[in-house]
Amino acid sequence: MSDFDDAVDGSDLAPEEPWESDISEILAGLPDVEPPDGFISVAIDHRPLFAGRVLVGLAGAVVVVFSASFVVGVFGQRLIVPPVGALAAQHAVTRAGLFDTGGEEADTWFEVVDDDVAGDPVRTSDSLDLRATLIAEEDLRQAVYRRSGDSVSIFSQPGRVKFDDLPDGDRVMIDGVLAWVDVSRQVVVLETAASAVTIIGLTPQEVAEVVEDIPRRSSTAGFTDLVNSFTKEIGFPELD
């Protein structure tokens, strides 16, 4: 019998004893605890990752609809428009499933595969721990990393990014490479040598730290330069 197998109907319980009232009174005197300054605003600012991107189905399951569009460019390369909203939803459901964040059971179009099938876009990083690799149609791959108790997803798909068709956001140059950043600074789209890459995390800092690990089309700057280039563009303090 566990410590909590104590379901009773209460009919045979004695009324509260005087000492219980004393304890109750002490506890009632505990003051409210104020959230730290800015915490609620920060919590609300996390909303864009989920807002309008997760469709709740009748059974409460999260259904992610991928609508990645692509065209064939003049040199035969596919031009990809990453479906950033659907990818953010996919990150949310995998995060919930892998890291016990309380999310609901989810159906997605992705299938979990062995790491060596999907590959590890970051490959080596002390701060990132590859936890799962998944794959969907059109060779769309997802790698989920754990970092500092939370997670970041990197989605990749062979082809070039069609930046003109991405939704509202900012275009920034990172180490001479064009990238797209959404208004929440939680989603970044850029190109590696052969793929369109979408990086999604819960905080801009997490995303920034992953960006510096991605091997891009041209990568000549050092570690700190790369991070500073990105953090400067999105308005965060530079590294020393």
């Binding site: 109907d9 009632a28 505990l30 605890v33 915490f39 919590a43 996390h46 909303r47 609901e104």
Partner: protein
Amino acid sequence: MVANHQQPRTAPASVPTWEEVAHTHGRFLYSLAYRLTGNHQDAQDLVQEVLLRVRRGLANYQPGNLEGWLSRITTNTFLDRVRKQKRRPTQPLPEDPDRVIQGSPGVESELAQRDLPDHLQRLLADLPPEFRAPVVLKDVLGYSYAEIAELLDVPVGTVRSRIHRGRGRLKEALTA
């Protein structure tokens, strides 16, 4: 007899938006989360998770006792997390000052001013979560046994028993 399905002409009570809930009840959520978890980092994580659940749940929310609904979500989310941690024990992460927004310095000084024992919260945090949650709901938030039974979806007698035992442990700790 034919049931009258005609709706009353009163305007339906409006469901708040997610942002309104966060702004208006954020302090309430945080205070409850802190009393349940016992530290700022876990309280912040819990509130974040609760707000996500609130956002998903607002579609089905029937206007009524909003704080009761929020208390139910917060407490059940807390207990869910405790159960999952028990199934998957993990090493606690060191406090990362970059990730945790520090609490207002005024909170501790206010406690001191009121001459409340500093270790009361720690004693509360030492209670098993299954005792702590009903004790917090009853003695800190002032819910009735029946309300707590409904919030936690357990019999009233179970609530009374757990509160009694939780208070007993607190008494022992306070008088030790």
